[in-house]
């Protein structure tokens, strides 16, 4: 084994987790291990952790996430029993020793054929818009804040996007990073009470504020050590009723109190917000509260 391999074998293994129903809390705990590192995106990860049973509707998305991991890579199934750090570390060392890297799950082809419409065959107008080869392109549209015509871009985010609760799939239209409209394509997976525990919910919000150390501490059940934690969240952001904003919900979680039982509808909660604000608002509700909101929306439809 070369020196490079020996060094690489002792590094914390970057893991990207695709989390199935009921597995969010155990997975978040498992990723706190000092031998693992939570990868921000699949490109950063060496091991893809398939936590629990991924429902059929998310199987294609799982394949797409899988194929984004750079080689050498490994996929591990984990049912939530015991600490997966040993198995993950072993898998990474095996890869360094020449074990076969996991091959692609999906064919490396565009999701759609060339549409053949429009001036440039992309199905839009001029050089804009449409979905050439199934990739959405930006198209001018009215800005909902100041009436400027900017480029609107529609994309699907989820079900394994790290900033959304597992399972939640949103079709989002953006102008710059302002959300123009959202619709729920698929609700979050049911997670049970554990994932909605105040300390885990608070840790997710802290991570979105760039406070990884504080988030890890809170997820282990201690109080956060950081500056400007509540102050960094704009006052009045995501205000459901007077005084019930994201800042107040974070304070309640940090004090160990449960948040609201049910979130407002996602389709009306996010438009008009910038992406970072929107993710703060979304994550200021527990996964189960979001699940209930989506279930009610589905019933109404």
């Amino acid at each position: 084994m070369s020196l490079l391999d020996r060094l690489a074998g002792r590094a914390p293994v970057p893991v990207f987790a695709c989390i199935g129903p009921g597995m969010q809390a155990v997975t978040e705990h498992a990723l706190l291990s000092p031998r693992l590192r939570r990868a921000a995106s699949p490109r950063e990860a060496a091991v893809l952790l398939r936590a629990g049973a991924i429902p059929e509707r998310a199987a294609a998305a799982f394949g797409r996430v899988h194929d984004q991991l750079p080689h050498p890579r490994a996929v591990l199934r984990w049912d939530g029993q015991g600490d997966p750090a040993d198995v993950i570390t072993d898998a990474w060392v095996d890869l360094l020793n020449g074990a076969d890297s996991d091959t692609d799950r999906r064919s490396d082809e565009p999701p759609n054929p060339w549409e053949g419409k429009g001036d440039h065959g992309q199905g839009g107008e001029g050089m804009m818009g449409g979905v050439p080869y199934g990739r959405p392109m930006a198209m001018t549209g009215d800005d909902i804040r100041d009436g400027l015509q900017l480029d609107a871009y529609t994309a699907t985010v989820g079900p394994f996007a790290p900033m959304l609760p597992p399972g939640l799939t949103l079709e989002i239209t953006l102008q710059g990073d302002v959300i123009i409209s959202t619709s729920v394509t698929a609700p979050p997976f049911p997670q049970g009470d554990e994932a909605s525990a105040p300390h885990l919910c608070a840790a997710r919000l802290l991570r979105l504020l760039g406070l990884n150390a504080a988030a890890a501490r809170v997820a282990r059940g201690s109080s956060p050590r950081a500056l400007w934690t509540r102050g960094a969240i704009p006052a009045g952001l995501g205000e459901a009723a007077k005084g019930e904003d994201v800042r107040a919900r974070l304070s309640a979680w940090l004090a160990g109190q449960a948040g609201p039982y049910q979130a407002p509808r996602i389709g009306s909660m996010l438009p008009g917000l910038e992406w970072h604000e929107a993710m703060l608002v979304l994550n200021s509700y527990a996964p189960d509260a979001l699940h209930r909101a989506c279930a009610e929306e589905e019933e109404a439809a």
Binding site: A40, S41, R43, G210, A213, R217
Partner: protein, 300 residues
């Protein structure tokens, strides 16, 4: 002369390792687990053992150019910092050279987010440009204020003007404002608008393998250059009793670096819109006031 030039790569190499190690030690002070002195080398080795993925239809030229430009800007910025009585590149307008390195960093970071041809990196790139541009204005006021007591734009002259009293005593607000600039230049903590968790790692979301390692290295190199420049502008650079000049400069650089890393790990990042308001409404007037007061003191 040759040995002066050689200090640049040596300082950058040691600085990158030290910065990466501080990055792994800092969480301990904020209550999380820390890594040791080899941890950074291990993480680097892991990246080098992995494939660099080429995204679909990227801007290949700029994908390769962005980390090289960032690294080059760090090296050029560092080379105008006097190691002893002279800098590796001795220029009568040293802080102007540094200022242009600061401004061009925005372009390097933007291209890093632009080139993979993916939505989250692009959002990170635009966000960073929107925040880093207004940070440049306070930065220029801070640099001019630091030059006033020396009545020169040469960094060597600015160091020389601190023989009796360091600039940090004359202009404490200048160092505080300059730290904000450092956090922005190195994409850290409260000013890391390029690589937020809400956009899956932003401009770095599509980075992997050796390409990722090179970009991270360039970030740490920029932190080294910034820390050395802050040490020269506010802590008297190589001036100090007993020890040789370069040793003083390196010690002061390490101190600024540790402080920057610590702040980066422990201060929350607000939303881009709110930060933009804070920068224009608070940071810019404060920095102008700082320049006026420092100018008054220097003339008086």
């Amino acid at each position: 002369m040759i040995w002066l030039l050689l200090t640049v790569p040596v300082t950058l190499a040691v600085g990158v390792w030290l910065a990466a190690t501080f990055d792994r030690l800092a969480p301990a002070l904020w209550g999380a687990r820390a890594g040791g002195p080899v941890a950074a080398l291990r993480d680097g080795a892991l990246l080098l053992r992995r494939q660099t993925v080429r995204t679909e239809a990227p801007d290949d030229l700029n994908r390769r150019l962005a980390p090289v430009v960032y690294l080059a800007l760090a090296a050029i910025g560092l080379s105008v910092v006097p190691v002893t009585h002279a800098a590796p590149i001795e220029s009568p307008v040293g802080i102007v050279i540094w200022g242009s390195c600061e401004a061009l960093t925005i372009i390097a970071v933007f291209l890093h987010g632009w080139s993979p041809n993916a939505p989250f990196p692009l959002i990170g790139a635009y966000r960073y440009a929107a925040i880093a541009l207004p940070v440049m204005l306070p930065s220029m006021f801070v640099l001019i204020a630091a030059a006033l007591p020396a009545e020169s734009l040469s960094v060597t002259a600015i160091v020389e003007s601190q023989r009796e009293v360091w600039n940090v005593v004359r202009q404490p607000l200048g160092l505080a404002l300059f730290l904000l600039v450092g956090l922005t230049l190195t994409q850290r903590g409260p000013f890391d608008f390029a690589d937020g968790a809400d956009i899956a790692g932003g401009t770095s979301a599509e980075d992997s393998g050796a390409g990722r390692a090179l970009w991270q290295l360039a970030r740490l190199a920029m932190l080294t250059a910034f820390s050395a420049m802050a040490a020269a502008l506010f802590l008297g650079g190589p001036l100090g009793p007993g020890l040789p000049g370069p040793v003083w400069l390196w010690l002061k650089t390490a101190a600024i670096m540790a402080l920057t890393v610590l702040l980066g790990h422990g201060i929350a990042r607000t939303t881009p819109g709110r930060m933009l308001t804070l920068l224009w409404i608070v940071a810019l007037p404060v920095s102008f006031l700082h320049l006026a007061v420092s100018g008054g003191l220097a003339l008086w």
